[in-house]
Amino acid sequence: MTDPITLAVIQAGLQQVCDEMDLTFSRAAFSPVIAEADDRSDGIYSAEDGSLIAQGSKGLPVFVGVMQFSTQSLIGRIRDGVTAPPEPGDIYIVNDPYLGGTHLMDVRFAMPVWRAGQIYCWLSNTGHWPDTGGAVPGGFSASAISAEQEGLRLPPVKLFKKGVLDTEIWQIICSNIRVSDQRIGDVQAQAGALRVGAERLTQLLDRYGDAMVTQAIADMRQRATQQMRKMIETIPEGRFVATAIIDSDGVVHQPLLIQLAVSKTAQDLVFDFSGSSRPCLGPMNSVRATTISSVYLAMRHIFPDVPISAGAFEPLKVTGIEGTFLDAHYPRPVSGCAAEVSQRIAEAVFAALVQAIPARVTAAPAGTSGNFCLGGYDPATGQNYVMYQISGGGYGGNADHDGLSNGCSTIGISKAPPVEIMEQKFPVLYRRYALHEGSGGAGAHRGGFGLDYEIELLRGEAQASFVMDHGLTGPLGAQGGLNGALNRVEVRRGGEVHVPPHLSKAQDILLYPGDSVRVRTPGGGGYGAPGDRDPALVAEDVRLGRYSAEDAGKWWNWQG
């Protein structure tokens, strides 16, 4: 056992190493997805089995725990002789979803930290690249039916050898991805973050000694397990069941179901997904690593005090995913797993546990990233462009208060781009950027409101694609609260309004100048019976135009 003082200090020190890697990565990155949206994460992993030692607190939540699966897989491949073993200065690149990943756009780097010629631990980070090739710019093909259509797949290979970029591998990558000319900036940022991490970690090891840090890491792991178990103790005995629904896979017109039953054993919390839908044809499959991490992510939202580490995950057992779309294998397409399926999994966890610990868990949040991509040619600049609009939605009400409006996705922490910046860069005009009125699910504490925006094309032709969700069923209410409003997409072409057949997913819808797309994002689920809401708050919402008198009458029996 490490003495408690040293333990706490080493733990804080390891955390700072990760935070500093996160900071360096974001500040030096070129891709706005990383630099602005912080769609990246950095962590420290054990040399033996790749288990998570510490992870940056400013990493994108979707990556909670996920890199331990890719590091594990890398260590296994090296051990089996499939992948060449590392030498000092080597950095591996990998984005294969089936080797412990998410979707292809999340590109991972991994680098050992060396002590006296031995690997002390691994540092790894993930960054969302704006493009990795495939059928559509950006990688979110709503109608892909195989992995090859989604982009370039890299097994772990050494991109840096003894500190030097392998230009041959780099050229292969560049020839297979769009807008490759600036990616070298992201690669240097991603590698630079690992090097900064190695430098700081080496200082920490020098100061406290390798043996003491190793002991502290073991103690930290044990304590995190203990802490998670303490939290689990607050959950009453029982079997808590929930179903979360994905509109469709984008190809076959059929909802996908996530069936979850949460129960306690002596010391663990078991998440049983048996009975969930079979693997799907379209890109709404999830891979094992993403599914398990989505459970971790949801638990972290519920118990934010427990540090992110393999120890905290130990009492969380995920079962029953084999043979379902939550454990898809090559060549099933998976582009939707990180952005959308992960959020439905989290929603199922929230919906199950809000029954057990209602004071700690909220009703379901909007739970979609609202990816809207517009690609076209702007005759005014003579350039092709690809525009991404991400949007927020309402959060669920909770035991204490109403849900937040236009909150970020469950799995993200990124800001949406300002309308003015979008209009500067792309030939579009926003007709509105407003509160999605009436969208918050009714309850004693209502859900937050979604967003209502409309984008008109000004010049040239363009193709619109969406990967969203909750078009068929709204975010789940809790404790008697009603569901939040649906996600609605409307395409206005030549004066006619079209609703995409898959509601929230569509690809390559051709637009001409004057055509527009209106998106109304989901509101959060309501919490508690609507009848228990303070009538003064209902009146206030009506006065502020958040609900029509009619809606308020229907849900709260409001009579003016």
Binding site: Q16, L23, A28, E36, Q188, P418, L451, L544
Partner: protein, 673 residues
């Protein structure tokens, strides 16, 4: 300037006053409780406490938290918004965020409620071309409606007004015809940059604190005049400059970071006299700690400060980062049996257990007291309560002695604080060995030597009066005007003649304003910088320039050097982008002699302890205790030592060497292994 200069700072707990007489070098000090809601009372009480004759004072400079408190507590004037049709909810929707990375709860209250946000037909495109003309009659109707609804202030905020302000100006003219006062803020006027949420919030905050600030400074100025003060009252701005009370409320939002800015100004002035151009300032109070990195004697100014969740204020302000750690930070054992310190705080009410105000959770201050770093006598019975609580809450669960437990709390708090300081300094490419740690605030000097050791900063500078640094900042601050102009173009396509013209025009405008205040200046200094990036990046790197006539090559080289230093990366194949040109015009006031901040009458020929007490440094060590005001200027002390003074306690760890400079600043050399 022959007359007296007064600086008065209103903080959360105390109102501090310094009156300096440059002729006699005499300094008078007062510290009185802050009075709320009317801060003016406390200010006047402070003047009375010194017995000063206000008619003999040439200049009063005031740092106020009126606007800060109004925003944080949402005690705002009723404010209406007239905005572009389709966009009234921008101020409520924000940028789609949540308060914490983990946890799906939280609240947000927009500065202007939805029923006071009205839309009118008008629309510009991103180049400023009119797509929909302004509906002028709708503007008048909207203004009348907002008046009906009881609004006192008005914001006019249109999309893309930074590219073409005509619609905003026209709408303001129309509204002014029916609006009964001058409280109309146009979005583009404070911040002529794109980003509708940030510009809108900045304008909304300005409008909603404007009437409060105007009433407050007007009444204070009148009271001071009545007591004989004949000159203009000046108010500190968040950029570390000051403005006349008669015009300050026009851009009221700029006073929001007034307090922290004056602390940084004091650090600059003290450092300048002491010969330190690179400082990490560290202001530790009860609930939070403010940190700033000063390089080359320049205050860092940022245009992108967020004062709380989803509350961005984008006007030039001193770049002070706040860390959620202070004397009131709570220590506890988590579910896994590990020690945690903060970020929860006992604040000042109930505060640490040792304050005896009903606090029950062990805090960092309690740990300091148990370790003998604070004088137990000052805390009476509550000191015993702190010890019992440390035993029950921390020591017993961890199986430690009470001292070891308290030591653990202090060490962990120091680790967190050092980490936070590192993130805003060393992580940004700074070398710790270049710096001195400037420790102030009531609790700063207690932790400074440990932090310096942790950060590998070789020395600590403790100013003469760490507890009244902000008021000192008001006395010594210079006049200052900051300008930003956005170009946002690849460097190779920039017209360098235009760059030089912009720099020259901003410099001229700043010089006019700075020299027009009628305040004695010794010099006017102009600082030029550029915000740059590689084409395709979104983050900016600020690059200091030696003058306003850089060549293209100068800019390229300065940027590449700064980038290499910050990220250890060279990207020769990618072009540089020139985003902003910044000019700061600084009117330097005559340096004030700070040597009398400690009355020389109390100084003794050699350092003699006033007593001794046991202080814990891994074991109890019998440690000499000195009274700061008695210390000679030719001081040389080797730690361990405790140095006490009216407003703080300084902890000198074993092996550290303390000397004094001519102003009575203490310099602590911190040995590194």
């Amino acid at each position: 300037m022959a007359g007296l200069v007064a600086g008065v700072d209103v903080g959360g707990t105390f109102t501090d006053l310094i009156i300096a007489d440059p002729a006699t070098r005499r300094v008078q000090l007062a510290k009185v409780p802050t009075t709320l809601p009317n801060q003016a009372q406390g200010v006047l009480t402070a003047f009375e406490a010194t017995g000063a004759d206000l008619s003999r004072i040439d200049l009063i400079v005031h740092g106020t938290t009126t606007t800060t408190n109004a925003v944080l507590e949402r005690r705002l004037s009723r404010t209406g918004l007239i905005t572009t049709a389709g966009f009234r909810d921008v101020l409520e929707l924000g940028r789609r965020t949540r308060p914490k990375a983990y946890g799906m709860d939280g609240r947000f209250v927009p500065i202007i409620p939805r029923d006071l946000r009205l839309e009118v037909a008008e629309r510009l495109d991103a180049q400023g071309n009119v797509l929909t003309p302004l509906d002028e009659s709708a503007v008048e109707k909207a203004a009348l409606r907002l008046l009906d609804l009881g609004c006192e202030s008005l914001v006019i905020h249109f999309l893309h007004a930074y590219a073409n302000p005509d619609h905003e100006k026209r709408a303001a003219d129309i509204a002014a015809r029916v609006w009964p006062n001058r409280h109309i803020t146009m979005g583009h006027a404070l911040l002529s940059e794109s980003r509708e949420y940030e510009r809108g919030v900045t304008a909304a905050v300005n409008a909603s604190v404007q009437p409060l600030l105007e009433r407050y400074v007007a009444s204070l100025a009148a009271e001071l005049r009545q007591r004989g003060y004949r000159n203009d009252l000046l108010v500190m701005n968040g950029n570390g400059g000051m403005v006349s009370a008669s015009t300050v409320s026009k851009e009221a939002v700029k006073t929001v970071m007034s307090g922290p800015a004056s602390g940084v100004m004091a650090a600059l002035a003290t450092g300048r006299r002491a010969g330190f151009a690179d400082l990490l300032t560290y202001d530790m109070g009860g609930t939070s700690t403010d940190v700033t990195m000063i390089r080359n004697g320049r205050a860092p100014v940022s245009n992108e400060i967020e004062i709380e969740y989803a509350m961005p204020i984008h006007v030039p302000m001193v770049d002070v980062r706040t860390i959620g750690a202070g004397g009131g930070s709570i220590a506890r054992i988590d579910g896994g049996g590990s020690l945690r310190v903060g970020p929860e705080s006992a604040g000042s009410m109930p505060g640490p257990i040792c304050y005896g105000r009903g606090g029950t959770q062990v805090t960092l201050s309690d740990a300091n007291l148990i370790l003998g770093r604070l004088p137990a006598a000052r805390f009476g019975q509550a000191a015993d309560a702190a010890r019992v609580a440390m035993m029950d809450q921390i020591a017993t669960p961890l199986g430690l002695s009470v001292e070891r437990a308290a030591e653990a709390v202090v060490r962990l708090a120091n680790t967190h604080m050092a980490g936070a300081i590192r993130m805003v300094s060393i992580s940004l490419g700074a070398d710790p060995r270049d710096f001195a740690l400037f420790a102030f605030g009531g609790a700063g000097p207690l932790h400074a030597t440990a932090l310096a050791r942790e950060l590998a900063v070789p020395r600590v500078l403790v100013p003469a009066r760490p507890g009244i640094t902000n008021a000192l900042g008001c006395v010594v601050a210079d006049l200052r005007q900051d300008y930003v102009r956005t170009l946002n173009r690849p460097l190779d396509t920039v017209d360098m003649a235009q760059v030089h013209a912009i720099f020259a025009a901003q410099e001229a405008q700043g010089r006019d304003l700075v020299t027009g205040e009628g305040i004695a200046l010794t010099d006017v200094r102009v600082e030029f910088s550029a915000d740059m990036q590689f084409v395709g990046q979104t983050h900016l790197l600020r690059v200091a320039l030696s003058d306003g006539q850089p060549t293209r090559g100068d800019l390229q080289h300065a940027f590449e050097a700064a980038y290499l230093k910050r990220f250890k990366v060279a990207l020769p194949t990618i072009k540089a982008n020139l985003v902003n040109l910044n000019v700061s015009v600084i009117g330097l006031r005559p340096a004030l002699d700070l040597s009398a901040l400690i009355d020389s009458g109390g100084r003794q020929a050699s350092a003699a302890p006033t007593g001794r007490r046991a202080v814990w440094f891994g074991a109890w060590i019998d440690t000499p205790v000195y009274w700061r005001d008695h210390l000679p200027l030719n001081l040389r002390l080797v730690g361990p030592a405790i140095i006490e003074q009216m407003d703080t306690t300084i902890l000198v760890e074993p092996g550290c060497i303390v000397t004094s400079d001519a102003d009575g600043n203490l310099l602590i050399e911190v040995p590194h292994d």
